[in-house]
Symmetry: C2
Subunit: 190 residues, 2 copies
Amino acid sequence: MPRQSGTKRAILEAALELAADNGITGTTMENVAERAGVAKGSVYYNFTSKDRLFEELLLEGVGVLTETVRSARSALTGWPALQAMVRALLETVADNRALARLLAAEIFRTDRAWQPSLELLRREVLGEFIIPIRETSPPAEMDGRLELVAGSVFGAALTGGLEWLVFSPERSLDEVTESVLYGLSGRLAA
Amino acid sequence: MPRQSGTKRAILEAALELAADNGITGTTMENVAERAGVAKGSVYYNFTSKDRLFEELLLEGVGVLTETVRSARSALTGWPALQAMVRALLETVADNRALARLLAAEIFRTDRAWQPSLELLRREVLGEFIIPIRETSPPAEMDGRLELVAGSVFGAALTGGLEWLVFSPERSLDEVTESVLYGLSGRLAA
């Protein structure tokens, strides 16, 4: 998570914890102020509205995810790049559990004020996955569908990560990375 | 969706539509009664509480999904079974959009009254995927991790399906099925 002023950071953390427990709809600005230990006016001063607060929280989360997979890809290409990106994504999910669950719940909602900006960032993460996918030389008929392929690779990793945290927390990062990559490796189709 | 008495069915449909727009926390029994065109007492008579109403809605949804992938598997084994199950899952998602989005948002929440029963059913769907995965003869070291593999295969299909409905609705079921299966086919690792 990027560093911010203490108050802003505390408000974002409080909003995240509350939304993980009660959902965004079930979280009020009053709750957030109380949990963060600041005045309600300070929450409004820093974020203007509840919509702006959660927009910033979610966009920051997707931004971190994008940066993480981008830097995991770095000098790699094709399948080795995808392997590194899946691992980095799983590590980020493990380090930001509440945020990962919130993102999973929000990413396909179509009724939120922050939908347009979240959608832009979503395309950016998927764009990171499309690069190495394109490097594996998919056949021409897949051209217009690489975002769908990227979406399902991303979904395999995100779902594998949440499955891990919620239902199999005893597994190691290595084991979970291997399990997700196993599904993408072609062994299932062998 | 299974057939039920008209009133019960109308209440479930109303609850689903409202939750798709406002989230479960943002949906009240009053709203549901109004949308369904029944008295509030009738909603309570049929479902006892809001928790019971949404539990029934979500469990019914996962139940339909389980039945669908089970019958798609039918006499097939291994990869052909997985291909048929992914296609059936995508078709179900397309036919039950609001429910699919609600499930994606709920499946990893840990704060809901219905969590234990939803978790049982989740294991049942994943169990359906584990059967053909096991038929592909995974190496012994994957033994304890087939549920994670199944979870990420399921996640690839569910995310691919939601991506389709929300962001690429112009694609056909065939195209989306091929895109998800492309990611699982091993072409990325070739």
